[in-house]
Assembly symmetry: C2
Homo-oligomer: 160 residues x 2
């Protein structure tokens, strides 16, 4: 079973998001072995300067790198990444799975995104939408796509 780790900066705090994340995690467990790590984002001032943001992203990149399992296929979520359909994501995950890696790692940044060092070291930069979503909602969207990918791969009726 393909192992999927999501490294997401910051915890879910709002109850509906927590409930939905837990529901999708349960459903995903039929298809993938899911693990979630939530490094703590660096606290920023109210109106952070570009330098402050850039320092925070560099610090967060260190936390993220510590969480990336060895020999993972790394997918950095970023707005400027490649877009693909749910079917394509499903076959992409299957391809990685048979290629012998056996471990995929999705990375979701904090509200200012991801440090360039994370993006450039990733195997794939993936974009869900050119629109900006809050990180808690985005987590649910990604979990749903991972669940859907498993359902597509197994020929389930969830995806029409």
């Amino acid at each position: 079973m393909l192992r999927i780790k999501i490294i997401a900066m910051g915890r879910l705090t709002e109850k509906p998001y927590i409930e939905m994340a837990s529901e999708f995690a349960k459903r995903i467990s039929k298809s993938y072995r899911l693990e979630i790590a939530e490094p703590k984002p660096v606290k920023l001032s109210d109106k952070p300067s570009p330098a402050e943001i850039s320092n925070a992203l560099a610090k967060e990149a260190e936390f993220i790198k510590e969480e990336i399992p060895a020999r993972s296929h790394v997918i950095a979520m970023c707005v400027e990444g490649k877009t693909m359909s749910s079917e394509k994501l499903s076959s992409y995950l299957s391809d990685v799975s048979v290629s012998g890696t056996g471990q995929i790692c999705f990375i979701i940044g904090s509200s200012y995104g991801l440090d360039e060092s994370i993006k450039s070291a990733s195997d794939l930069k993936l974009s869900v939408s050119p629109m900006t979503f809050p990180h808690e909602l985005f987590r649910i969207m990604l979990l749903e796509q991972i669940y859907r990918a498993g359902e597509i791969a197994s020929g389930g009726r969830y995806h029409k």
Copy 2:
């Protein structure tokens, strides 16, 4: 204040989605006068034929047309539509607002999407993502983008 009506096929049924939709609707009310209509989708058999789906979409299109307010600027949500950033959506809504229409209508289809007659009669076909999302989650995503659009237009701190 710009009036926004969302016509979405089907009700929200899961509690976390209902809670989040209600939260975003409350926040949106600072920027837009929001109304939501939920026509009942046509019930389909377990494995609907293309003809059955096409008939259902045509029937649903009738329900939708009844709900579209006169002189609305109509935005049909569909996977093959135009993509835009959150900033662009915000300025798009502002432009429609000053153009004198004063009423925007977003249309979200059922699980098989929207009838061609709805898409071709719309002013804009808008895509959030090439990925497929369940309609309940998609509703939350659209509500969040509408809230974000209002925050961007008013220079609020929500959108960074």
